[in-house]
């Protein structure tokens, strides 16, 4: 149990002109459990990194003080544990037990005391396997619980959680929250959490601090009071405030068939069980078909095969007016028929400005120059990317990058758009923008298929839902 204090803290990342946070004054009392809220760009992650002692002199420029128990945070690392978003890049070792032991070795804990603590921490997070379980064989939720065990084993006095469930599917996120609940009940440590999804962790905290752009303090107090008073404002800023209703955009009736998947099957070489097994479906103009199901049920594989990006082992995906199956089309022709938007927008960026990114598909398709220009101008305007026309796509914020990847896939005017987890990890404001954008595209007559874990997104937009289980269609729901 230790107090934490920011005194006139400001930080500028090396190579950036603007400060990430300015003039932050905050005090957290020993043993307090604090939820840190704020829109993207309010510097929440910067504050956590500062407390974790990760903002070193060579990584930027600091003003003011960050104090842990009255001492500068950079020297207090052994008393602080931090859990990051991405499970994949937090695990160091190949075997689960070794990974928990890693942090204890660094603390110079003698060998005979390491292993009892490893077992104890793994038990605290409900880790279901033996200690020699390979870390790469774990699901995202299991990896994140293992990383949490690695944090707890070091017996920190201050625990920091940086959106610990943002990269997980709903089942994995639930398991991690459950583990957090049990583990935190056993410790006296001071806790600071950053999380957009407020409802799920509200029972873990007793104080909420809401920040605005640049780390400016908006509200501070007991959770219920802060949310009652500032809920609408925070929701508008992108925080998932419980009880604030979400928009829905129900669809009109669907038109003609725009894409047909026939017996789509994919068996990866060297495996027996198909990743996708004999899935047939039709996608109509002006509808959004949601594809849901647990991890590993073949959802993303379905999007890849339907979009003609991967050759199916059996079956075919076709669009009207195109005799060849999509996977046999040359890429530049495919892009005019079906657009695909991937989970990671950056994988799709192939040019160095936003403008070129939008012009790319039409140019590949051989459109005349003036038609390309008209199209680019129209998309820039519609997706509110005009001020960024000359920016490098890799410098965009999460929401902007997502909008650009949708716009890029739409540029060559395909009749079908396939989206893989379009709302994954987005804050509430970006989420609302994406729902509106998707609904507009749908209502113009484009046929949409969205692979998603997001119940709210499916409820807001989908006319039909295809539930996959173990590579097959388990159920089709009509709304």
């Amino acid at each position: 149990m230790i107090p934490v204090e920011f005194r006139g803290f400001a930080w500028r990342h090396a190579g950036r002109r603007a400060q990430a946070v300015t003039g932050v004054d905050l005090r957290v009392e020993p043993g307090e459990r604090v939820l840190l809220l704020g829109p993207s760009g309010s510097g929440k992650s910067t504050l956590l990194a500062a407390l974790a002692g990760l903002l070193t002199e060579d990584s930027g420029e600091q003003d003011g003080d960050v104090l842990i128990d009255g001492q500068p945070a950079t020297g207090q690392r052994d008393r602080v544990g931090i859990l990051f978003q991405d499970p994949e890049t937090q695990l160091v070792m190949a075997r689960s037990g070794d990974d928990v032991a890693f942090g204890l070795e660094n603390q110079a804990v003698p060998r005979d005391r390491i292993w009892p603590r490893v077992h104890e921490s793994l038990e605290a997070v409900g880790f279901p396997y033996a200690i020699d379980r390979a870390t790469h064989a774990l699901s995202g939720g299991e990896q994140q619980r293992l990383a949490l065990a690695g944090v707890l084993a070091r017996r920190p006095d201050l625990i920091l959680l940086d959106e610990p469930t943002a990269n997980l599917d709903p089942e994995g996120a639930r398991d991690v929250r459950e583990a957090l609940r049990t583990a935190l009940a056993d410790t006296q440590a001071t806790l600071i959490v950053v999380e957009h999804r407020v409802a799920e962790i509200l029972d873990l905290v007793d104080r909420v601090i809401a920040l605005g752009p640049g780390g400016a303090l908006i509200a501070d107090g007991p959770a219920a009071a802060v949310l009652a008073e500032h809920g609408d404002h925070l929701a508008a800023q992108g925080v998932w405030v419980p009880g604030v209703p979400l928009p829905t955009r129900p669809s009109a009736s669907a038109g003609d068939t725009a894409l047909r998947g026939e017996s789509l099957t994919l068996v990866h070489p060297g495996t027996d069980t198909p990743a996708l097994d004999d899935v047939s479906f039709e996608l109509r103009q002006g509808e959004l078909l949601a594809v849901t199901g647990p991890n590993g049920s073949g959802k993303s594989t379905l999007a890849l095969l339907a979009g003609g990006l991967v050759k199916p082992t059996r079956g075919r995906s076709t669009v009207p007016g195109e005799p060849r199956p999509l996977h046999r089309l040359p890429a530049r022709r495919l892009a005019t028929r079906v657009g695909s938007v991937f989970q990671d927008p950056e994988h799709q960026f192939v040019t160095s400005t936003v403008k070129d990114e939008l012009a790319f598909g039409p140019r590949q398709a051989g459109w005349p120059k003036d038609r390309v220009e008209t199209r680019v101008a129209e998309l820039l305007e519609r997706l509110r990317l005009a001020p960024l026309a000359n920016a490098n796509p890799h410098t965009l914020s999460g929401g902007e990058a997502r909008r650009l990847s949708v716009a890029g896939a739409l540029a060559a005017a395909p009749g079908v758009l396939l989206l893989d987890e379009p709302t994954f990890g987005q804050d509430r404001r970006t989420w609302g923008e994406l729902v509106d954008l998707t609904a507009d595209i749908r209502d113009e007559g484009t046929a949409l298929l969205a692979v998603t874990h997001d119940r709210d997104f499916a409820a807001a937009l989908a006319g039909r839902e295809l539930v996959l289980g173990k590579g097959r269609i388990a159920e089709e729901i009509r709304r």
């Binding site: 937090q90 292993w115 994988h347």
Partner: protein, 266 residues
């Protein structure tokens, strides 16, 4: 689907249980002897000795053959090239067919070089296929006192390697969706390969940065000397393995010399 870097042998097999540093020393001794000797008999004896240890490695023969096939294919190529393109074809002429002439001396020289490649390859594969990378890192830091920052950093990076394959497939699909594809045009293929590789590297560097931050957050850059959760020791059996390797090397050279064919540094 995903490839792993874990050992493929039975973990209880005698060779699998040898200290990784001892295995490294033994493999180095055998390979060095093979590379120094330039006759055909020394590497042949060493190769025989290596193959005699296979039953104690816990490796299935099929798996070993699969790992060695390209290396042995390379060795066979070395034999053929050296035999055919030798400066002079002396000794008894075995083949004389138009421009193709092969004499016994050239064939023996070629075979000697090919066998040296085989010895080094087999020793390396036997060593690595029976060693868990984690154990190797433990032994390196504990027996050879290599810096933990470097050794464990490399080990952690190794763990991220299999992700690159999956990421490569994703980037390729994402680019096809954008209308980018190599097709049959070799120039475009090379260009696309380079740009995909660049995207992969950007992602890899970003991930490495995050991993480094996570490691430091768990005290990896702390100034206090680390302890070791898993102990690696040099037991008497490990010294015996090194001694045995040296003895085999000496014996091979001695037999070859007694037979009158030993040469070195050629």
């Amino acid at each position: 689907m995903s490839m792993t870097l874990a050992p493929v042998c039975d973990a209880e097999a005698p060779i699998a249980r040898v200290n990784p540093v001892a295995k490294l020393a033994a493999a180095a001794a055998v390979s060095t002897t093979a590379l120094i000797a330039s006759d055909w008999l020394t590497p042949l004896l060493l190769l025989t000795a290596l193959l005699a240890t296979v039953p104690f490695s816990g490796l299935r023969l099929g798996e070993l053959a699969r790992r060695l096939r390209w290396l042995w294919f390379a060795a066979a190529t070395v034999v053929v090239v050296n035999a055919v393109f030798a400066a002079e074809q002396t000794g008894r002429i075995l083949i004389d067919f138009g421009p193709l002439t092969i004499g016994t001396d050239a064939l023996l020289d070629g075979t000697a070089i090919g066998l040296r490649v085989c010895v080094a390859a087999t020793a390396g594969v036997l060593g690595f296929a029976t060693t868990d990378p984690t154990d190797l890192a433990d032994a390196l830091t504990q027996q050879l006192r290599t810096p933990a920052r470097f050794t464990l950093g490399a080990l952690a990076a190794l763990r991220l390697m299999p992700l690159l394959g999956a990421e490569w497939r994703q980037i390729t699909s994402a680019r096809r969706a954008r209308g980018l594809e190599g097709g049959w045009n070799p120039v475009r293929r090379v260009h696309l390969f380079a740009s995909t590789m660049f995207a992969l590297l950007v992602g890899a560097i970003r991930r490495a940065g995050r991993l480094a931050a996570a490691m430091d957050a768990r005290g990896f850059d702390s100034a206090i000397p680390r302890t070791h959760a898993r102990e690696q020791r040099m037991r008497p059996a490990d010294w015996v393995v090194i001694a045995a390797a040296l003895a085999v090397c000496a014996a091979s050279v001695a037999v070859s010399a007694a037979y009158g064919v030993f040469t070195a540094f050629n």
